[in-house]
Amino acid sequence: MATSGSVPTTPLLKDELDIVIPTIRNLDFLEMWRPFFQPYHLIIVQDGDPTRTINVPEGFDYELYNRNDINRILGPKASCISFKDSACRCFGYMVSKKKYIYTIDDDCFVAKDPSGKQINALEQHIKNLLCPSTPFFFNTLYDPYREGADFVRGYPFSLREGAKTAVSHGLWLNIPDYDAPTQMVKPLERNSRYVDAVMTVPKGTLFPMCGMNLAFDRELIGPAMYFGLMGDGQPIGRYDDMWAGWCMKVICDHLGLGVKTGLPYIWHSKASNPFVNLKKEYKGIFWQEEIIPFFQASTLSKEHDTVQKCYNELAKQVKEKLGGLDPYFVKLADAMVTWIEAWDELNPTASASTETAATNGPAKK
């Protein structure tokens, strides 16, 4: 059971966590986050026109990659990284050398809790990742490791140690993450409900993973966090994080890892254009009806005992089972394999080839 006692301080993990931010415009939003983000190293992935200079506020420690850097570092494998879509952020996950990643969109600001206090979203994500998850049995008082809570009567004792947490999925106040049709029907709806809970998404359950306010343990699940082929030259957009979330969840379920959702909240300030969104999502809305049953039925076997093996197997299944839905999925499956190859090249393990990984892009300070 969770222990009582004084509330421990959450470690900063400033040398173990990178903040990955995709951007095409500017990073002014970082000013508001400065008190919380300044101790950390930022990896900025610049999408769009690489000749444009992205202004990073003074005082942040960062490395910045534009499309030219991505092409240079990955060579032909750069084809797996989306262009003109925030999905390019996953390049940042690949080049990071840290254990944890926090990724946030550049239109997300510091939110306030109901008492008016500013929310340190990063601290909450760290708490979520450092505490076990409970995927095998639902605790009705939500996170049993939170101060003031515990496992409820009837929760099996053998499950109270929980599982390692691989992903922490945060939420958004103000502009909610709705799809285009819902945005069009409810253009004025704002999320003002602060739900004071963190919970584990049960094993076997899929959910829509939003990349706006997301943290994960790169060592546990990093290779599964590929954000797919979106944007320029691709038939869909706004399904990057969804795709990563479904692959990730199937793999986490298989490997016995946990995924949390709930706190922390950030303040999402910008509603994207619903007409533009509808064009991007259009095919996805129909394809999803096939994609979800595919993931729900997907199985992995005992031989798939690493994230990379699981992911390559998933890629095979995507090609086999979804390839008929649209040629896009054949391309996507190939890109998934390329992603893993690139990941392994940039992140060699001790037992892998002694060839060193390609160097990071120079930090442009």
């Binding site: 999925h169 799809d179 939003c210």
Partner: protein, 348 residues
């Protein structure tokens, strides 16, 4: 796909484990007074009940239980007496709240109507096939999030609504011994569907359900020798909830958890004296867990009664040898099905 639930379709079932029901009923009067109430007196309680006037209320006592279930081996004493209320109710929906639980206040200080919230939970669809990260999409101010499959947005009928407790949370005896002073002060403003296939402890302290759809699955299966009247001494609701979730999942229905809260006083006693009894219970759920995680009900079972009849056989076969508690549970489940049918409990 939301339904309209009339007051006349609801029974409030209260298990009277202590004789003075007046403070409880008075506290709940603004929220209970519109409804028919069934009070089931614990057959082991000798004193007469004190009941506040002005309610549309029917009391069932030991003699009623014996008249209906005399030849049954089901133990209707203590917290299990409420199941008799489920058996004799002729309403579609039942709401059941423990006698030590009063209306709760939300963070703004407003007294909340747990009855109305349970009714809302049962009236609006559940979404068990995909987790919505903004929780109940049918609540005002919320919706399905991007990435939620459109074909699943109709949802399915919600047949079980599990509420929560502020103040004295529903902890087992061991946890309470370690944290005797912990109080639940966190009001989590959410209702959510427990996904299909996920197991959960369905505490009976604050619960509501569709009796016609799920009733037979809410059953008095587990009763320990020497079991007392305190919640941390029982697992009847936990067993019942595990069965009910399996049945609900099989029948394609949904189960919600979250709001409403009740303010639970508890009975002020500490569990230290009972810890030696805990060793039996501590292992029980762990022994039953693999069974509930893998159990499959056949396609032939298309009603809750059918499902329970099948489940009891599987409990006997797979768990009967593990502990006599499970063997008794299987018998109790069979008898419950027979009782349910013989008293015409499926009627409205």
């Amino acid at each position: 796909m939301s339904v309209q639930i009339e007051d006349s379709e609801v029974d409030i079932v209260i298990a009277a484990l202590h004789p003075n029901l007046t403070p409880f009923l008075e506290a709940w009067r603004p929220f209970f007074s519109r409804f028919h109430i069934i009070v089931v007196k614990d057959p082991e309680l000798d004193s007469d009940l004190q009941i506040a006037p002005g309610f549309d209320l029917k009391i069932y006592t030991k003699s009623d239980i014996e008249a209906v279930a005399k030849s049954s081996s089901i133990n209707f004493s203590g917290h299990s007496c409420r199941y008799f209320g489920y058996l004799v109710s002729r309403k579609k929906y039942v709401i059941s709240i423990d006698q030590d639980s009063l209306p709760a206040k939300d963070p703004s200080g407003l007294v909340t109507d747990a009855v109305a919230q349970h009714i809302t939970n049962l009236a609006t669809p559940a979404t068990p096939f995909f987790f919505n990260t903004l929780y109940d999409p049918f609540r005002s101010g919320a919706d399905f999030v991007r990435g939620y499959p459109f074909s699943m947005r109709c949802g399915v009928p919600c047949v079980l609504s599990c509420g929560l407790w502020l103040n004295v949370a529903d902890y087992d005896a061991l946890t309470q011994s370690v944290k005797p002073n912990e109080r639940n002060t966190r009001y989590v403003d959410a209702v959510m569907t427990v996904p299909v296939g996920a197991m959960m402890p369905a505490s009976g302290i604050n619960i509501a359900f569709d009796r016609l759809a799920l009733g037979p699955a809410l059953l008095p299966g587990v009763h320990f020798t020497g079991e007392g009247k305190r919640r941390w001494e029982t697992l009847e609701d936990i067993w019942s909830g595990l069965c009910a979730k399996v049945v609900s999942d099989h029948l394609g229905f949904g189960v919600k958890t979250g709001l409403p809260y009740v303010h639970r006083e508890g009975d002020g006693t500490k569990p230290h004296g009972s810890l030696n009894k805990e060793s039996e219970k501590v292992k029980l759920l762990d022994d039953a867990l693999p069974f509930f995680q893998s159990v499959k009900i056949s396609r032939n079972a298309t009603s809750a009664v059918d499902c329970v009849a099948e489940l009891s056989g599987m409990v006997r076969e797979k768990l009967g040898a593990v502990s006599p508690v499970f063997a008794s549970a299987a018998n109790a489940m069979d008898e419950w099905v027979n009782l349910w049918k013989s008293v015409g409990a499926q009627a409205e």
